[in-house]
Every structure is written in structure tokens, then in C-alpha cells.
């Protein structure tokens, strides 16, 4: 990061190669699709280039700081953007080509993804960071700028909410 602040382009290239995937991953989970996630990550990298000097190496690791930049950008966008209407018939697929088993599997995946997407943003971010990105509780709390107790509270409520959503959907499906 020090090299990047000094304008070293090799340092920037190394950062992208090493870390772009993990930031794109968290952005995709938050945004719900890869196209929007790429936009968010790209904007975060532009911010990195224009304000790398704002990163305080003594205050924490680069990845923690940049997770915060990316996730804040995603949350801002989600709050700003109203969900666009889906085109008519977007969910009509050629169901004849699929077996019952694969249809059930697809429905299950959609139900789980839907339950995850319906969580409040902060709960979703907490689960994404701790469960999918496998950050330690300390790191995830730093990314979210909260203490560990608050993080655990978000995780617990998020998981409980998912459980109850999935239980309702399961009973509806059956």
C-alpha cells in the first residue's frame, strides 16, 4: 500500500491480481448479480487510486479497509437503487427439458438465495463476511465498524430469520 500511495503501478497491479476476486465475491453476494458487483468493485478501485493516502496502515490491514470500502459502496447503491421491474416472462423456462429432481433443486436454490436476499442489508453483510468470506469475527466487525457483540447479534438474527423464512417456504412447497 505504501508503494501504491507513492504511485507505484506495479503495486497496484499486484493488489488487483491478489485481491480482486474476494472483493468481487462479496460484492456479488451483496448486489445479487455480477454485473452490478463489477461496477461496485471498479468504483472502489477508482477510490483506492484517488485516495490511497487515506488508508492508515497502523489502523488495520488493507483487505479489512478495502472490504469496508466495497461493502459500503454496495450498501449505498442498494439503498439508492429501487429494484427494477423484471421483464414479463423472465422466469418462464423450458421446463420440459428439466427433470423433476433438477426443478426441485433449482427451486430450493432460489428459495435459499431469496431468503438470503430478503435479509436486512447489515444481517446479509454479516453472514456474507463471516460465513462465505470466512473472515474472523474481529475482522468482520472491523469491516462493519461495529463491536463483536453487535456482529454476533446481527449474525444470530440473520440466521434465525433465514430459518423461519425457509421453514415457511418448505411448508408452502409441501
Amino acid at each position: 500500500m505504501a508503494a501504491l500511495v507513492d504511485g507505484d503501478q506495479t503495486a497496484y497491479a499486484a493488489l488487483v491480481t491478489r485481491h480482486a476476486d474476494r472483493f468481487l465475491s462479496v460484492a456479488t453476494r451483496l448486489m445479487g448479480n455480477q454485473v452490478n458487483a463489477e461496477d461496485m468493485v471498479q468504483e472502489a478501485f477508482i477510490k483506492l487510486l484517488t485516495s490511497a493516502d487515506k488508508f492508515n496502515a497502523e489502523a488495520g490491514r488493507f483487505t479489512t479497509w478495502f472490504y469496508r470500502v466495497v461493502s459500503n459502496r454496495c450498501l449505498d447503491e442498494l439503498r439508492r437503487k429501487r429494484p427494477a421491474a423484471l421483464p414479463e416472462g423472465y422466469d418462464k423456462e423450458d421446463e420440459k427439458a428439466q427433470t423433476d429432481a433438477s426443478l426441485l433443486e433449482r427451486d430450493k436454490k432460489n428459495a435459499i438465495k431469496g431468503a438470503l436476499d430478503r435479509l436486512p442489508e447489515r444481517q446479509k453483510l454479516a453472514i456474507t463476511l463471516c460465513y462465505y468470506q470466512e473472515l474472523s469475527n474481529k475482522e468482520a466487525a472491523e469491516v462493519m465498524d461495529i463491536n463483536i457483540k453487535a456482529l454476533e447479534s446481527l449474525l444470530t438474527r440473520g440466521r434465525q430469520s433465514m430459518k423461519s423464512q425457509l421453514a415457511t417456504q418448505k411448508s408452502e412447497l409441501l
Partner: protein, 169 residues
């Protein structure tokens, strides 16, 4: 070995799930010990189902080479954009401040320039006139002062000449 209470283990599992890898590092060993007990496995059972559901959600596709190339190209773009930004700062100000916008229109620039030049010339001329106006009374007075002695001396000379002529007669 540190032991933990059932309540704490339950709280940890409810927050972090059933996978030991996700548990807080400083409590992982004692949690694993508790998880091996019957009480522990009962608590884990509830969390395992949700973990399995979360695992079904497919992992996002890794960053494509095209996207990575786009990110790698950003420094050049940011550098180019910053020079354009400097050049367009005035342009942005034009649209933010309508008065400035009116003043900076190409057509208006010559008119404004002419008006400014006229005002400048008028200002200098008026200033000059004021300076002359301020100087005139003083100069006239000075001239009078200069003329009066001269006139007086001329009169004296005339009177002297007349007196000499009378004496001679």
C-alpha cells in the same frame, strides 16, 4: 483445557453456525470439546441444516480476465481523467453558477470585454477630468497671483512714467 457453558456454546452456534472453522478462534478448542458431548451435538443439529442450505447457494463466478484487465487499466484512465477534470473545472463552475455561465459565453466574452474596456477608458478619463477639476482653481488662483503683481508693477510703471512726464512739462 477451558470449558464453556451450554448457554455460551449455544450462542456461538446460533451466530456462527455449526462449522468449527467459523467459530471465534479464542474459543474454538473449548467449543469443539463441548460439541463432542450429547448436549453439544443436539445444539449443532439445528444449525447444521441451515449451514447446508447456505452451502447450496452457488459461489460467485471468479473475476473474468476481461474484468481484471479493466481494473488493471484503471490507473491510466484515472490519470487521464484527472487532467481532464482540471480542464473542465471552469466548465463545471459555469453550469453551477448561472451568472458566471452568462459571463463566460463566447459571444458574451467580447461584449463583456468591450464593456470592461469602455468602463476602464471612461474611468481613466473621468478620473483625469476630476484631477484637472481639482487642479484648475488652484492653477487659476496661482495664475492670478502671478498676474496681479505683474499688473500692479505695470500700473506702477505707467504711473511713474506719467509722473516723470508731468515733471518734465
Amino acid at each position: 483445557m477451558r470449558t464453556i457453558e451450554r448457554k455460551i456454546f449455544k450462542e456461538i452456534v446460533e451466530a456462527y453456525g455449526a462449522k468449527a472453522a467459523h467459530w471465534p478462534a479464542d474459543m474454538r478448542d473449548s467449543c469443539e470439546d463441548f460439541a463432542a458431548s450429547q448436549e453439544g451435538s443436539e445444539i449443532l443439529r439445528g444449525a447444521l441444516a441451515l449451514d447446508a442450505s447456505l452451502d447450496i447457494v452457488p459461489a460467485p463466478t471468479p473475476a473474468s480476465q476481461v474484468f481484471l484487465a479493466k481494473l488493471q487499466a484503471l490507473p491510466k484512465q484515472v490519470k487521464a481523467a484527472s487532467s481532464v477534470t482540471r480542464a473542465s473545472l471552469l466548465e463545471k463552475l459555469r453550469w453551477r453558477i448561472p451568472e458566471l455561465n452568462n459571463w463566460l459565453r463566447p459571444g458574451a466574452l467580447s461584449a463583456q470585454g468591450t464593456a470592461l474596456a469602455t468602463a476602464l477608458v471612461l474611468g481613466v478619463w473621468v478620473g483625469g477630468q476630476e484631477a484637472v477639476a481639482e487642479q484648475t482653481p488652484f492653477d487659476e488662483e496661482l495664475a492670478l497671483l502671478e498676474l496681479t503683481p505683474q499688473a500692479d508693477s505695470n500700473l506702477d510703471d505707467l504711473l511713474l512714467d506719467e509722473a516723470l512726464e508731468e515733471k518734465q512739462q
